[in-house]
Amino acid sequence: MKPAPFVYHAPTSLGAALMLKAEHGDEAKFLAGGQSLIPAMNFRIANPALLVDVNKLAALDYIHVVAGELRIGALTRVQRLEHDPLVRAHWPLLPETVPHIAHPQIRNRSTVGGSLAHADPAAELPVILTALGGRLRLQSSTGERWVGADDFFVSLFTTAIATDEMLVEVAIPAAPARTGTAFMEVARRHGDYAMLGVAVVVTLDAAGACSAARLIFLNAGDRPMNAQRAAAALLGQLPGSAAIEAAASSATEELEPMGSVHATPAYQRHLARVLARRALRLAVQRAN
């Protein structure tokens, strides 16, 4: 229950951190909040030869808005998302979700970048970022690129981040007018990873019909799972009970949850239907 020996560096500039990663590749790991990496090292599931502690890169700890788009630095602690006034006012899905992520003591350390880079299919932030159509900025010692959330999450604990890259920033677009969002999950205990969850984003047109919809499920596959047929079923519909029920049924059919010791796939499917129905109802109400 103790980490194996490693070499420790805590660079004070992003450039130095990226150089170390470029030089040492897969042997090196970034240490952000450490709330997933340190337990894995304590169990010796992870045995990096070199740790690049990025906690001194204070310049990557920020929340601001650029041309209507929310920008979050990778080192921003998850807890900050719950109380930031800008985020609360314009991206309420984030503060609504944060209390479901672990416990305050863990959120005080865990970072937005670490949570996304870790890419646990049961984690909340990857699902939220996907639902809100976010983008991620990846930087290496030789350049940078932006990747959309839909392409970033590849599979179980696997992302589009290349060996020499670091996730440095996340961008979330402003929501169109008459957009409502909601997040719901069912966990065995408050703060546990959920058995299943869903983030829903619904936009209505002037006539009240659904002009855009997204339903992204948590712990329903090897990455944030996009129920595209369910969303398509809502388009152009007045989102009353019948349309919502049809979409929820469609989601249940298109998902293939893997099941766990806590929940069978059949139970997860049941949760998908119930949570999709409730979250859609709430999102539509909020959009109105």
């Binding site: 020996p5 490693f6 450490g34 337990p39 169990f43 740790l51 672990a102 305050p104 003591q105």
Partner: protein, 170 residues
């Protein structure tokens, strides 16, 4: 890269419970072990070493964190508080007395972590509801008490901290 055969050590400067320390620590030493073994602050307990139980909760620059999920080297340049920073056996602080009064502990294994969680919580929420106290405690496991008396103790402490003494609890 060649894996080090000799333990890699770092010199760190940290302030714990108001006292400055300068120590060598092995890179892989957990902060919880550093506080217990190197500084002798054995009030801090270690339950799970995977972030699940909360027994090792300390205040890191004023915020509650898991000491078992941090490295000792990361304490360099920071200020930490452990349960030893609260009252003494002869003179318990308000929160500790409330635990005494309300029978908020049995075996006591979880208590140090819970006291540190509640110390930060009551500073930020001086007049909490019972629900808020329960939510604040969600990251601390107790196998003995069933939590009722811990919640009662937290509420009593909040009441007693009002408004007579508005200075933050140590």
């Amino acid at each position: 890269m060649q894996r080090e055969t000799m333990p890699e050590t770092h010199l760190i400067q940290t302030t714990v419970n108001g006292q400055a320390y300068e120590r060598h620590t092995e890179a892989r030493q957990l902060l919880s072990d550093f506080l217990r073994h190197d500084l002798g602050l054995s009030g801090l307990h270690v339950g799970c070493e995977q972030g699940a139980c909360g027994a090792c909760t300390i205040l890191f620059d004023g915020q509650p964190v898991r000491a078992c999920l941090m490295l000792a080297v990361q304490a360099d340049g920071h200020a930490l508080l452990t349960v030893e920073s609260l009252g003494t056996p002869d003179k318990l602080n308000v929160l500790q007395s409330a635990f005494w009064e309300k029978h908020g502990l049995q075996c006591g294994y979880c208590t140090a972590g819970i006291l540190m969680t509640l110390t930060a919580f009551l500073q930020d929420n001086p007049t909490p509801t019972e629900h808020a106290v329960r939510t604040a405690l969600s990251g601390n496991l107790c196998r003995c008490t069933g939590y009722q008396n811990i919640v009662a103790a937290a509420l009593l402490a909040a009441e007693q901290m009002q408004p007579v003494d508005s200075t933050p609890q140590p």
